[in-house]
């Protein structure tokens, strides 16, 4: 297997005197769905936010495409490094419509400064059509959408960016059964198109049906990474709860 699309090594993070991450490491590869699981407070969201440029790691490295360690200082930096993020809180602006939300941060322009509304709406509609989702007209304000529809818009925004690495933080937390299945299909398609998908989720059923690899975090540390095909639920749950001892790790390399 070639260089990982995204590699974290020895990532540590403190908030004041509180240690949020002690030692997080994992490799995510192109064409794979890499799940991050763990109990509340294990550091899943903090890890995602570091890769996304919302927080900065105090120690350790984030490497993109096997290159030099990247300093991701802001969300704009992360985008530049080829990382698209679906945040847990979705980061949508309710008073703006679907098309504006999907293009936020990368609004298309003409003549240098005029907003190219037509192109923006065309692109948004195309992405939603390609995802085979129906959320209504792209001029609908996001404030009018249901929780599930908002989730789809947030995912569609990341898809529209068309970056090689996609981070999804709890994309199914607020969704019903049917909507969860739909997000699952989108994730499968992203893998098929060769993206490295990093998926944070509480939902082990969802992880087992869509992920290729799973990394377990416990108390801010990576305690093990497994191929989903080779591992049973009991083992993953054991790693999450601490009933099974963490793997011995050397130089951040994991099986």
């Amino acid at each position: 297997m070639g260089a990982p699309a995204l590699r974290l090594r020895g990532v540590r993070k403190w908030f004041g005197s509180v240690s949020a991450l002690e030692d997080v490491h994992f490799d995510a590869h192109a064409g794979e769905v890499h799940a991050i699981v763990g109990d509340n407070g294990a550091g899943k969201s903090t890890t995602i936010k570091i890769v996304a440029g919302v927080h900065r790691a105090d120690e350790g490295e984030v490497l993109v495409n096997g290159g030099e360690p990247r300093h991701v200082r802001s969300a704009a930096d992360a985008q530049e490094h080829g990382i698209a993020v679906v945040h847990q809180d979705l980061a949508l602006v309710e008073c703006l419509d679907i098309a504006h939300n999907m293009a936020l941060g990368t609004l298309p322009r003409k003549f240098g400064f005029v907003l190219d509304r037509r192109r923006m709406e065309r692109e948004a509609a195309k992405v939603l059509r390609d995802l085979k989702v129906r959320v209504g007209d792209v001029r609908t304000p996001v404030g009018l959408l249901s929780g599930g529809q908002r989730q789809v818009v947030a995912v569609a925004r990341a898809v529209r960016m068309d970056k090689p690495i996609m981070l999804l933080d709890e994309p199914t937390a607020a969704l019903g059964v049917q909507e969860t299945a739909q997000v699952g299909e989108i994730i499968d398609e992203l893998r098929a198109s060769g993206k490295a998908v990093v998926l944070v989720s509480h939902d082990l059923d969802f992880v087992f049906s869509h992920a290729d690899r799973v990394t377990v975090l416990r108390l801010g540390r990576t305690v093990g990474t497994r191929l989903v095909a080779d591992v049973g639920r009991e083992e993953v749950v054991g790693l999450i709860t601490g009933a099974i001892a963490p793997d011995q790790v050397h130089d951040g390399e994991v099986a």
Binding site: V54, A91, V93, C95, L96, L115, R134
Partner: protein
């Protein structure tokens, strides 16, 4: 998300996709406002035949120019999630610094630019206090208001700055094809701000910032740059309004701005349908709001109603406008 359950679709409930032009017009804040303007106008006309005279209508428009120019910058700032209570003092600063340069013999275009620059500097100070010192906007700009009011008085010794050259006074007192220059300035400012807000990337980013600051950060918007631009722009329009006012009255008055000026600008913004919660509102509403303020001033004078009633009427309209606006939005944007 196969959202095909049409009956539960909020848009459908509000007749969204079937909404005709008529319904769209009726649902806008400006429509209610225009109705209020017409009502006040009808009232004034029924009590005084002078109301509909061209001179009087022109006077109403010219009086609204000051409110409107200030309110444009203030509206943009409020839409972006900020607030500026220093506007009244910045208004005076713009007027006094420009007039002081004029009496020293500085050509008026230069004096105007310098006056605007001084105001922009105050806007930048507001930005620093709000974002770097983390003082809430309302308190930071209120502090600026008091400090600046003191400075305005100290520097002039409390007396007006006179006389102003005729070239400068023409900025507001002249006319082109019968349209007063100050009205033309207001139209130009209005068009510029409408364009900024509705047609540029900057405008969308401002709405995003005010609508959901965290989302703006998460989407990689340069929020500090936006904040800086908004506070500077708000100060610039307050200063410009002060300068135009000086040209209207032919003097740099120490008492020109002040608390009531600040409150008038913010009132025009809020009556005009801009949400204090950020993100929503537009220049069109603000324009009607400014005309309404000016109209009420005028109508009360024409109908011999004592001026004390002015604040009562404006206060009532302000509360009603915001309440109606809130009700309408609560129906449309139900939290889920």
């Amino acid at each position: 998300m196969t959202v095909t359950a049409k009956p539960r679709d909020p848009l459908a409930e509000h007749g969204g996709e079937r909404t005709g032009v008529v319904a769209k017009v009726l649902v806008r804040q400006e429509t209610t406002l225009v109705l209020v303007v017409l009502a006040v106008g009808l009232f004034a006309w029924s009590r005084s035949s002078l109301f509909l005279s061209p001179d009087n209508l022109t006077a109403i428009l010219r009086n609204s120019v000051i409110y409107f120019v200030m309110a444009c910058g203030a509206a943009l700032l409020v839409i972006g999630g900020g607030l500026d209570f220093s506007a009244g003092a910045v208004f005076t600063l713009g007027a006094l610094s420009t007039c002081a340069l004029l009496v020293e013999g500085v050509p008026w275009p230069l004096a105007v630019l310098a006056g605007m620059a001084a105001c922009c500097a105050v806007g930048a100070v507001n930005f620093v206090v709000v974002t770097s010192l983390h003082v809430p906007p309302i308190i930071a700009t209120l502090g600026t208001f008091y400090v600046l009011t003191g400075v305005d008085n100290l520097v002039t010794g409390g007396s007006d700055v006179l006389p102003l050259p005729a070239g400068f006074q023409r900025i507001a007192q002249g006319s082109v094809l019968g349209v007063p220059n100050d009205v033309l300035i207001a139209v130009a400012v209005g068009v510029l701000f409408w364009f900024l807000l509705e047609r540029t990337r900057f405008g969308v980013n401002v709405r995003a910032l005010g609508g959901n600051r965290q989302a703006a950060v998460a989407n990689g918007l340069r929020v500090f740059r936006l904040d800086l631009a908004l506070y500077v722009i708000a100060a610039a329009t307050a200063g410009l309004a002060g300068i135009v006012y000086s040209a209207q009255v032919g003097a740099g008055q120490v008492t020109a701005g002040g608390t009531s000026t600040t409150l008038n600008a913010i009132t025009a913004v809020l009556i005009g349908g801009v949400s204090l919660m950020g993100g929503m509102g537009g220049v069109q509403g603000v324009a009607v709001g400014a005309v309404l303020l000016s109209l009420i001033d005028n109508a009360l004078v024409l109908t011999n109603i004592p001026p004390q009633y002015n604040s009562i009427v404006i206060g009532a309209i302000l509360v009603c406008a915001v309440a109606v606006d809130h009700l309408r939005r609560a129906r449309i944007y139900r939290k889920r």
